[in-house]
């Protein structure tokens, strides 16, 4: 008697419906990925058939004559992102070490709050600020100084307009510091306390303790955090498009203007006329997508090995 009564009150049919609906929501995430891949590949097929692999090796970008090569954009994306990493990594790791190892307890909360506030500012506002504050600053002070002292390297030559690769690298650096430092902080926090105590007991100074007891143990996770920052920098669009100068060229000088894969999409996509032009732009989008997928997957795996499956998030 009891069994059927129980069954009717637990409501198996609604439970089944609930499970199906909820599972569908979960599968929707997979669906989105499939949809993105499908749309990007099918819409870029025309360009792929016309240019093949040469698309990524050719450096001519001439829409009126329907000649397309993505090399200047790949170059711009790589150089601006690497520049950003060179500036941001020491700063971000320094901030993370300071907040976890040195900073007085009362300061810890506000400090990470302020650093994460940087992550909440929309990219277009970074761009706006860069146009009116950073670029004039670079052209008036930083670039003349760099060309005087380091001009012989060939990286800092030419007129100091402010707009260009250097400005893009600096604004990207400001934007990726929060993600690198917040994930580095998470990774440093899971380094066992006894590692620190052991190093100190062996007579290490605080600095030696941080270097050998903490940073060495967290190496893989920090590399993961840096790669996540790289992923963010590769795909960052607005701020870069607003300051990089938007010229598809490959020039060694960082003062020269350039273009990135993301910025060319932002600038030209809505005005692209002709199927092959749109298709070429979508192929750049596909390439950008694949690169960021690989970079992010790699970074997640590295962070996971350190935090042992604890989800690593930007905001924590």
């Amino acid at each position: 008697m009891a069994a059927p009564l129980l069954r009717s009150s637990t409501g198996e049919v609604p439970d089944q419906i609930f499970k199906v609906v909820i599972t569908a929501c979960g599968l929707a995430i997979l669906g989105m990925l499939v949809l993105i891949v499908y749309e990007l590949t099918s819409r870029s097929a025309a360009s792929w058939h016309a240019f093949g692999f040469k698309f990524f090796a050719a450096s001519d970008w001439d829409p009126p004559n329907e000649v397309f090569g993505a090399k200047p954009f790949i170059y711009g994306t790589l150089v601006s992102s690497l520049l950003a990493l060179i500036i941001a990594v020491p700063l971000a790791v320094g901030v993370a070490v300071f907040t976890t190892e040195m900073c007085p307890k009362q300061l810890r909360g506000p400090l990470s709050f302020f650093v994460e506030l940087l992550a909440a500012i929309p990219s277009v506002i970074y761009g706006l600020w860069a146009i009116f504050v950073l670029v004039p600053l670079l052209s008036a002070y930083v670039e003349p100084f760099l060309s005087k002292t380091l001009g012989w390297t060939g990286l800092f030559v030419g007129p100091a307009y402010g707009f260009g690769m250097l400005a893009a690298g600096v604004i990207l650096a400001i934007m990726i510091v929060p993600i690198i430092s917040s994930i580095t902080r998470e990774v440093l926090l899971v380094v066992p306390q006894h590692q620190r105590e052991a190093a100190l007991a062996l007579g290490a100074t605080r600095w030696e303790m941080i270097r050998m007891g903490v940073l060495r143990n967290a190496r893989a996770g920090i590399v993961g955090a840096i790669i996540l920052g790289l992923g963010r920098a590769l795909g960052e669009t607005m701020a870069v498009a607003m300051v990089i100068g938007n010229t598809p060229q490959i020039v060694a000088s960082l003062f020269a203007s350039g273009h990135t894969m993301a910025s060319v999409l932002a600038n030209e996509f809505s005005e692209a006329t002709g199927d092959i032009y749109t298709s070429a732009l979508i192929e750049i989008g596909l390439a950008l997508f694949l690169v960021t997928i690989v970079v992010n997957a790699l970074a997640r795996l590295l962070v996971w090995t350190v935090t042992r499956g604890q989800p690593a998030r930007g905001h924590a």
């Binding site: 929501c25 901030v95 277009v124 506002i125 992010n296 997640r300 989800p311």
Partner: protein, 284 residues
């Protein structure tokens, strides 16, 4: 060495202070009543504002939330309650990876999904693009918040004969409400400032997409209106267009727009947090 670490902190905080300081300085100097009530004036004329962009942004974000929030929360429930298996891990990893997909790429996808079928730019396309960006974040935070709910609570509910769906919705989800909503607001704040996915989906608009004529109180009122299938202005988009323009007046308006955007994002997030906190206290 401590000195060096302190230097890095100062170097990181300096741009933050500079950005906020300059934003407030330029923004407060440029904002006025006309800015939030009027639509843009033609080039060369002083005055005008971004009322259409503010409403357009709210509209696009509304569409994005309508699609993204249920889907994201649903996926989060799946991951927390049914996702302790292989498929769950795959979905979890996919969500993390989707989180890192550049917003401009998502814009391209929304363009080919919606704009190419509708044959014109629209608020709907912009909303779809933003919703795709919201889902991964919302699902992962929802999952984390649901996992914080003690297992004993679920068992107590099952013990009382409450079916699983009811337990999940009325006990687990309800207990985690404030955390889930915080996650939703984080996703909302993130997409509210997005420009890249709107450039070739919502496109922008220098006026209202439509005017409605209403007879009310014995008079005919012309009410500005936003339509989901028309090109629509959005605040971040307008800031971008004005920032790269050569006109001082537009630069001024870009700063005012940036200030309004930041204030709206912060206000939306804190308002919801406040309401949720009060709601949870009241009910417990």
């Amino acid at each position: 060495m401590t000195g060096l670490a302190v230097c890095t902190v100062i170097l990181v905080l300096a741009p933050l202070a500079a950005i906020f300081g300059y934003l407030v300085y330029r923004g407060v100097g440029s904002i006025n009543w006309a800015f939030v009530t009027q639509i843009p004036k033609p080039v060369g004329e002083a005055g005008g504002g971004m009322a259409n962009a503010i409403v357009g942004s709210a509209f696009i974000l509304g569409i994005a939330s309508l699609i993204g929030v249920p889907l994201g929360v649903g996926a989060g429930i799946y991951l927390a309650e049914f996702g302790r298996n292989r498929l769950g891990s795959v979905i979890r990893f996919t969500a993390d990876v989707l989180n890192g997909v550049p917003s401009i790429v998502i814009g391209t996808v929304a363009y080919s999904l919606v704009v190419l079928y509708q044959h014109h730019f629209s608020a709907l396309a912009g909303g779809v693009a933003l919703s795709i960006m919201m889902v991964p974040t919302i699902s992962r935070t929802t999952e984390e918040m649901l996992l914080l709910v003690p297992q004993a609570l679920r068992e107590a509910s099952y013990g009382l004969g409450v079916p699983r769906w009811r337990t999940t919705l009325s006990i687990t989800l309800r207990t985690a409400t404030s955390g889930v909503i915080t996650g939703v607001m984080l996703a909302f704040a993130r997409v509210a400032g997005e420009t890249a996915p709107l450039i070739f989906t919502a496109l922008g608009n220098t006026g209202w997409s439509r005017y409605l004529r209403l007879g009310l109180f014995g008079k005919t009122w012309t009410v500005p209106f936003v339509e989901s299938n028309q090109p629509t202005a959005a605040l971040p988009l307008q800031i971008y267009v004005y920032a790269i323009s050569p006109y001082d007046e537009w630069h001024r308006q870009a700063w005012a727009g940036a200030l309004v955007l930041i204030v709206l994002i912060v206000a939306a997030v804190s308002a919801v947090r406040y309401v949720v906190r009060r709601g949870t206290f009241g009910s417990s």
